[in-house]
């Protein structure tokens, strides 16, 4: 019933791969309402993370996640860099020096990461940002945990909610980030950051389904 350090490493690697596979799609979304670099930014960041991992994979989960955060900070740039960096750093700080964690740890980590993003980016729900995937994921996760769902089930609910949240960004008029410059023209397009965030929650659910 525990998510081990190796599970966490596998999740990061599988997210890195999801980014490779969806790089063009993410950039295309950013082409529509941004500056056509979100996929490339995330890919640059997670390629660096993959290079970094071997040097920290014998460390605890908190240290690993904080190292991911630091790597993203110095490799990604743009809005996504500090935001994703904060997500991983705060999550790592929350989990701390553990070699394995339970669903509760994960929920707290995710919440800390989400709060970190909200503080740094000063965005509110429905501003058409990655938060619009994160908040639903968090809520669904704690609801499922309250209902006594299994780890796999709870993570799946959380991923489903992130997916819905991501799709729900489509009609929104952006108020934060680069898409906000488009005003009304930003409506009708899916937010790239919400999309990469959905992938993050989804790969966690897939990787940890049997934990």
């Amino acid at each position: 019933m525990a998510i081990t350090r190796d599970d966490v490493l596998n999740w990061i690697k599988s997210y890195a791969q999801a980014i490779e596979e969806n790089c063009e799609m993410l950039t295309d979304l950013d082409r529509e309402i941004g500056d056509a670099d979100h996929g490339a930014n995330m890919r640059r960041g997670f390629r660096a993370v993959l290079e970094k991992l071997p040097s920290v994979e014998d460390k605890d989960i908190g240290t690993i996640l904080k190292n991911v955060g630091m790597t993203l900070l110095s490799k990604v740039g743009g809005a996504a860099g500090p935001l994703y960096s904060t997500m991983f750093t705060k999550a790592g700080m929350t989990i701390g020096a553990k070699m394995e964690m339970d669903l509760n740890d994960w929920a707290q980590a995710l919440e800390a990461g989400t709060t970190g993003i909200a503080k740094l980016g000063k965005a509110l729900p429905n501003d058409k940002t990655m938060l619009d995937a994160l908040y639903p994921a968090l809520n669904a996760l704690s609801a499922a945990m309250g209902n006594g769902a299994s780890v796999g089930e709870a993570l799946q609910k959380s991923a489903d909610a992130a997916h819905e949240g991501m799709l729900a960004t489509i009609p929104l008029v952006a108020r934060k980030g680069r898409a906000s410059y488009l005003g009304e023209r930003s409506a009708g397009h899916q937010d790239p950051g919400a999309t990469s965030t959905y992938l993050l929650i989804k790969t966690a659910a897939e990787t940890w389904t049997d934990c």
């Binding site: 941004g34 500056d35 860099g81």
Partner: protein, 333 residues
């Protein structure tokens, strides 16, 4: 994609190498993290100016490093804000003991990354002030949104505050001056064509042969609206009127008029626009006392232009005229 590049991933590194080889008299270039500092940095006792942003806007910012302008520039990937480690190292490399001013264009990424860098630098005992440039009237100004973008005014701010720092003004004076410039400057831009980010390989937006984008930024973002092509005089009016009304600039005001190419628009067209802009301002009793015409803050090869007005006074005129020696702007030395 038709570009004079090699591997799209190497564009910024190879450009930096070119700058390093071309201008050893003006700058030193550092890699990993990437940043450019003036050749004689740090200048002891002088406030240091650091700016930066995504690449693809050349000559900004790297071309503005040198005596009388920036002390350091941090180039990000194309159209992507640089990272805090670049900014931190640049800040440390140019601090001459009088403090460092960060000039930050108002983009979510730039602001967050520079904020982090400033925190880290302060943590290392360096006095840092930050100024945000947000002059783009095409974007509504509101506390609920990301606010206005920093565009053309950035160039003017870097020149003017650079001169002030050179003159020996304090960090606070430089920051106040920068905020004053920001308060008195407004811009708006338009695109005739899109641009292609190298690692993307296709145009950032598709624009039919008979249409243009009005109210664009400098990152190949689409603008506020798309309309049919118009003659240059009409376009000039469409950009200049909202700029004038926003501050507003008034009869009797003296201004600097900056007509900027987005990269692909040649000088011959800029002069046609400049001519009309002066005509419009003349009719309003607004006097153009200084000007800048050319590709200074660009979006790769995008065809289009932006117009910036900056209200001038004696101090700003003196600082504008002060000597500057950079790859992208040079006079008086």
């Amino acid at each position: 994609m038709k570009k004079l590049i090699n591997n799209p991933e190497d564009v910024v590194k190879e450009e930096l190498k070119g700058i390093e080889l071309a201008h050893p008299d003006l700058v030193k270039v550092f890699y990993d993290p990437d940043f450019i500092v003036r050749a004689d940095a740090p200048v002891q006792g002088k406030v240091a100016l650091v700016s930066g942003g995504g690449s693809g806007h050349e000559p900004m910012h790297g071309g503005f490093v040198g005596k009388g302008m920036l002390d350091a520039a941090c180039p990000g990937a194309v159209f992507t804000s640089p990272t805090p480690d670049q900014m931190l190292e640049a800040t440390k490399a140019v601090d001459g003991g009088a403090g460092v001013l960060h000039i930050v264009k108002n983009y979510t990424g730039d602001v967050m990354n520079f904020e982090m860098a400033a925190d880290l630098a302060r943590d290392e005992g360096i006095e840092v002030e930050s100024v945000i440039v947000n002059d783009d009237v095409a974007v509504e100004d509101s506390t609920w949104t990301a606010g206005r973008r920093g565009v053309g005014l950035t160039v003017l701010m870097e020149k003017i505050v650079g001169a002030a720092a050179e003159e020996g003004r304090s960090l606070k004076e430089c920051a106040d001056l920068a905020r004053k410039v920001n308060g008195q400057g407004r811009s708006m831009g338009m695109a005739l064509t899109s641009c292609t980010v190298p690692h993307v390989g296709k145009p950032s937006f598709d624009l039919p042969e008979d249409e243009m984008e009005i109210g664009i930024g400098i990152h190949g973002e689409p603008g506020r609206h798309r309309i049919k092509l118009e003659p240059a005089d009409k376009i000039t009016e469409m950009l200049l009127e909202p700029v004038v009304e926003d501050l507003p600039y008034k009869e009797g005001d003296e201004v600097l008029l900056f007509v900027n190419s987005m990269g692909g628009t040649p000088l011959i067209e800029l002069y046609i626009v400049y001519r009309k802009a002066v005509e419009i301002l003349d009719a309003k009793g607004i006097k153009v006392v200084r000007n800048l015409i050319g590709p200074y803050i660009t979006s790769l090869e995008m065809a289009g232009m932006s117009i910036t007005l900056l209200k001038m006074d004696e101090d700003l005129k003196k600082l504008w005229d002060a000597p500057v020696k950079t790859a992208g702007m040079r006079w008086g030395i």
